[in-house]
């Protein structure tokens, strides 16, 4: 029991922070209410520190992913928190400034930050999941708060609409992967991921295939988790939800559920293993043929649909939404490539490539969304807050280089990074995906990946060039001004600096991802470690209580 708690210290730290934030956010005093964000920041930093120093290796096929995943969640989570300033309760606080009384019933700040931290907690739990039920709870804890965050993000109808769409489709996806988990349990007799992996791969070694029930379970679970990463055919919610939510919440959606989804996908696909070849189990380094075909089709469709549909968009948030779909497709290539031969480096370990790509993609997407979040559209005539709206159309970014050069620089660097231009971080992230897929023999997939990266250049270069264009005839009569929340621009600047600096010196980050992606083939000893780590009850019972029963005193 104590060992289970030992794995959860980062999440416990986040949970205590959540409890604090929920109460502090409703205080009568304005200054105390504003402490929500700093308290959350301290909580995330403490959780990240605890994750880096006290992580326990999980008893799954990916034992070192927990520590990397939790530290990743804390790091990018801190950047996302900086973006969240002013998203909740902006109009309410302006009303309080004008002299109205603070209405805790109408306020959403406490809930907003609490859900932010809950979702981050769910992401950390996902990284450390060692059991199907644990994984399901962690995935749900990651997504349910995001449904509410989307609905609460602005006071306009479109964020409520986005929230409703996201909730219903997300619930359907969750039902699908829960059914898949139930079938996997039926096929293997256990919910512990180590036992599931051992049973399935043992059966595959004996009979040559993983069996129809396990296959059905895995396919259903993967399809359900595909909703989280916005892969085709579960991508339809992405554009509307990303556009309807406030930009800071969209940045959150573009990273956290995707991260959680990929942790889950790697854990689930690891149950089937990458040891199949033309002669069945043990003769190659590929996925089981049925799973491989499914993931191959999904990856190709996802990349292509994401990139092609992004070309047609005029809204910046929709462009970034479809680009995030495309990036999910790229990462699925890494999942198909698999961990490669034993003792493989970042260049040949597809799983490590995916984990590293999650880091690079997270930082760059925070950068691009921060530019959109740091600007707002204000009616030139009045300064009333009712006329403040988000910046969304790509033409509203024109002339940004003259007005806010730092934001234009952030957009240029992060968009070029997402494109994969060397020597930025995006290139360092994409290269291992290419090499690991090549090493696994997936030539056609690599060609399609390259073609899609080229197609993506069209809209990324559009995002890069628009800030330099003249504003010319203003497409709207409103003025595009920076928001009064400097932390949003700061998040973008930090992200852009990381993209450049880590791109030049990204060796250590890569080596962490390399260790995190180590795939341990399921063995009997993995079970033994798991069973041994759960000590038998050490609680001492008085000798006569057993005879007399609990009620006798």
């Amino acid at each position: 029991m104590n060992n289970v708690i030992a794995q959860l210290w980062p999440e416990i730290a986040l949970f205590v922070t959540t409890c604090l934030v929920m109460v502090v956010g409703l205080s009568k005093d304005r200054g105390t209410r504003k402490l929500c964000a700093p308290i959350s920041a301290i909580g995330i930093i403490v959780a990240g520190y605890l994750a880096a120093t006290t992580s326990v290796d999980t008893a799954t096929t990916l034992p070192f992913m927990a520590k990397y995943g939790k530290v990743l969640a804390a790091g990018v989570g801190l950047l996302l928190l900086m973006l969240m300033a002013g998203t909740a309760d902006r109009q309410l606080e302006d009303a309080v400034d004008r002299g109205e009384k603070f209405e805790p019933l109408r306020s959403t700040r406490a809930e907003f930050y609490a859900f932010f931290l809950f979702s981050l907690m769910g992401l950390m739990l996902c990284a450390g999941a060692s059991d199907l039920i644990f994984l399901f709870l962690a995935l749900e804890l990651t997504s349910l708060p995001t449904y509410v965050m989307v609905a609460l993000s602005t006071r306009r109808d479109r964020s409520m609409e986005a929230g409703v769409k996201y909730f219903f489709l997300g619930a359907m996806g969750a039902a699908m992967f829960l059914f898949g988990f139930a079938l996997i349990y039926g096929a293997t007799g256990s919910t512990a991921l180590a036992d599931v992996a051992y049973t399935i791969q043992n059966r595959a070694a004996g009979t040559g295939s993983i069996g129809p029930l396990a296959l059905t379970g895995l396919v259903l679970s993967l399809l359900g988790v595909m909703f989280k990463i916005a892969a085709v055919p579960m991508h339809f919610y992405t554009a509307d939800v990303y556009q309807g939510a406030a930009s800071s919440v969209t940045a959150f959606l573009a990273f956290v559920p995707k991260c959680a989804g990929f942790f889950a996908i790697m854990l689930l696909v690891g149950c089937a293993g990458w040891a199949f070849g033309p002669d069945g189990y043990g003769s190659g380094t590929a996925l089981p043929p049925e799973l491989r075909i499914l993931l191959w089709t999904i990856a190709v469709l996802t990349m292509t649909v994401g990139n092609v549909l992004a070309l047609l968009q005029t809204s910046v948030k929709r462009i970034l939404a479809y680009s995030s779909i495309a990036h999910s497709g790229y990462m699925l290539v890494g999942v198909i490539a698999g961990p490669g031969p034993a003792e493989s480096t970042l260049a040949s370990n597809g799983l490590a490539a995916v984990l590293f790509y999650l880091l690079t993609y997270g930082v760059m997407s925070v950068g691009t969304f921060s530019v959109v979040a740091a600007l707002e559209r204000r009616r030139r005539a009045t300064a009333a807050d009712a006329a403040i709206d988000e910046v969304d159309h790509i033409d509203e970014l024109r002339g940004l280089w003259k007005r806010q050069p730092h934001l234009a620089a952030v957009m240029v660097i992060c968009a070029l990074g997402l494109l994969g231009l060397p020597p930025l971080l995006g290139f360092l992230g994409k290269l291992p995906l290419f090499t690991s897929a090549l090493g696994a023999g997936e030539i056609v997939l690599v060609v399609i990946l390259g073609l899609n990266s080229a197609i993506a250049a069209a809209y990324y270069l559009r995002l890069v060039s628009v800030p330099f264009l003249e504003s010319g005839e203003p497409s709207t009569p409103d003025a595009v001004v920076p928001t009064p929340f400097p932390s949003r621009a700061l998040a973008g600047v930090v992200a852009a600096v990381l993209v450049v600096v880590a791109g030049l010196a990204g060796g250590t980050l890569g080596s962490h991802a390399e260790r995190a992606g180590t795939f341990r083939f399921p063995t009997k000893t993995m079970e033994a470690t798991r069973h041994a780590s759960q000590p038998t009850s050490t609680v001492s019972v008085p000798p006569d209580a057993a005879e007399r029963g609990p009620n006798a005193r």
Partner: protein, 135 residues
């Protein structure tokens, strides 16, 4: 962990027969009453018989009344604290069996106090939100 497919033990279904008979009796009783009163009873309708019943008088107002959302909120709050009670039951049944002189007992108490603390946080949140204001 077994490597062969799982086989279910054969269950003796004959012990479920009384339940089947009981269910059959309940369904038959219900169906028979409705069908018999349809066939055997008189069938006289009229304008007054078709009206909505309100203690024998003419109806006042519409039946679609709005009622305050506080009832729904109280039900939600009840659910939260009910789940807490459910988690308290097994702890309460097991805790007296622990030897109180060891540090284990303090650890067990500490754990449940942390759980109760989370409920207190939920309660404070509810109070500030006005959930318990019932005017």
């Amino acid at each position: 962990m077994p490597t062969a497919p799982i086989t279910l033990a054969a269950t003796d279904l004959s012990s479920y027969l009384p339940i089947l008979i009981l269910v059959g009796m309940a369904v038959t009783f219900g169906v028979f009453n409705v069908v018999a009163s349809n066939l055997l009873g008189p069938s006289r309708t009229g304008k007054v018989k078709e009206k909505t019943y309100e203690s024998g008088m003419d109806t006042i107002g519409s039946a679609h009344k709005r009622f305050n959302v506080r009832f729904y909120i109280i039900a939600m709050v009840f659910l939260v604290f009910d789940i807490e009670i459910i988690f308290l039951y097994p702890w309460a049944v097991t805790f007296p069996n622990i030897d109180q002189s060891t540090p284990d007992a303090l650890l067990w108490l500490g754990r449940i106090l942390f759980f109760v603390f989370t409920t207190v946080v939920a309660y404070v949140y509810g109070v500030r939100k006005g959930v318990f204001r019932f005017d």
